[in-house]
Chain length 119, copies 2
C-alpha cells in the first residue's frame, strides 16, 4: 500500500476522490436520510453540529456525509476550523424521474381494481 494511493476511475479531472455514487444507494440509509433532513432545515451546518444529532461518533457521520457528497447531494466548505455542509437536492430528480415511470402502473392498477369492485 502506497502512502498516497491515487485512484482515478475513469479519467476524472480535479484532485479529490470524486467516486460518483449512486443516488439510490445514497438515500437508502436512514442516517443519511436524516442528514438530508437536517440540512434541508438547517441551511448550512458544521460536522460537529450534525454529529450531535446522532448517537454514533463523528467519524461515522463524516463517512455518511462523504457518501452524500459523492452522490452530489451535499457540498461542503471549510470555514475556520469547521467544515460546513449544505444540501443540494438536485440529484433527487433522478429518483423522481424513475418513479414517474411507475406512476402509470399504479394508476392502471387502481383503475383495474375499481372496475373489479364495480362488477
Amino acid at each position: 500500500m502506497t502512502p498516497f494511493s491515487v485512484r482515478f476511475k475513469g479519467g476524472r479531472d480535479l484532485n479529490s476522490t470524486d467516486q460518483k455514487r449512486d443516488v439510490f444507494v445514497a438515500i437508502a440509509d436512514p442516517t443519511r436520510r436524516k442528514l438530508i433532513r437536517l440540512l434541508a432545515e438547517g441551511e448550512e451546518l458544521p460536522l460537529h453540529e450534525l454529529t450531535n444529532q446522532f448517537q454514533m461518533g463523528r467519524t461515522a457521520v463524516s463517512k455518511h456525509l462523504t457518501i452524500l457528497k459523492e452522490a452530489e447531494l451535499v457540498t461542503n466548505r471549510k470555514i475556520g476550523r469547521e467544515t460546513r455542509f449544505r444540501l443540494n437536492p438536485a440529484p433527487l430528480q433522478e429518483i423522481k424521474d424513475w418513479l414517474a415511470f411507475y406512476e402509470k402502473f399504479w394508476n392502471e392498477r387502481a383503475i383495474l381494481l375499481k372496475n373489479i369492485l364495480e362488477e
Copy 2:
C-alpha cells in the same frame, strides 16, 4: 377474490414471515430495479424467465425477489411447477412522499438562482 394475498397499507397480512424490508433499501440495488422494470412490462413472470434476463444464477435472482417481496413491491404465487411474480407498485408511494418534502427546497433554490442571474 384473487388467489394471492391482498395487502393493505398498515394492516397485518396472512401467512408468511413478513420481514418488512425498507423500500428505500429495496430499490437501491440495480438488479432489483431491473426486476421491477421487467415486472412492470411483463405483467406476471416466472422466476426462470426473469433469471434469463440476467447473467447471475437463479438463486441470486430469487434472493432479490425475496427482498422485493419483503418490501411488498412484489407478490408471488405458484402455478404448477413455476413461481410467478407480479409487481405491486403501491409501496413506491413512500418514496414519492419523501421526495415531495424536498421538492420545495430545489424549487426555492431554482428561484434563488434565477434571482441571482437576473441581477
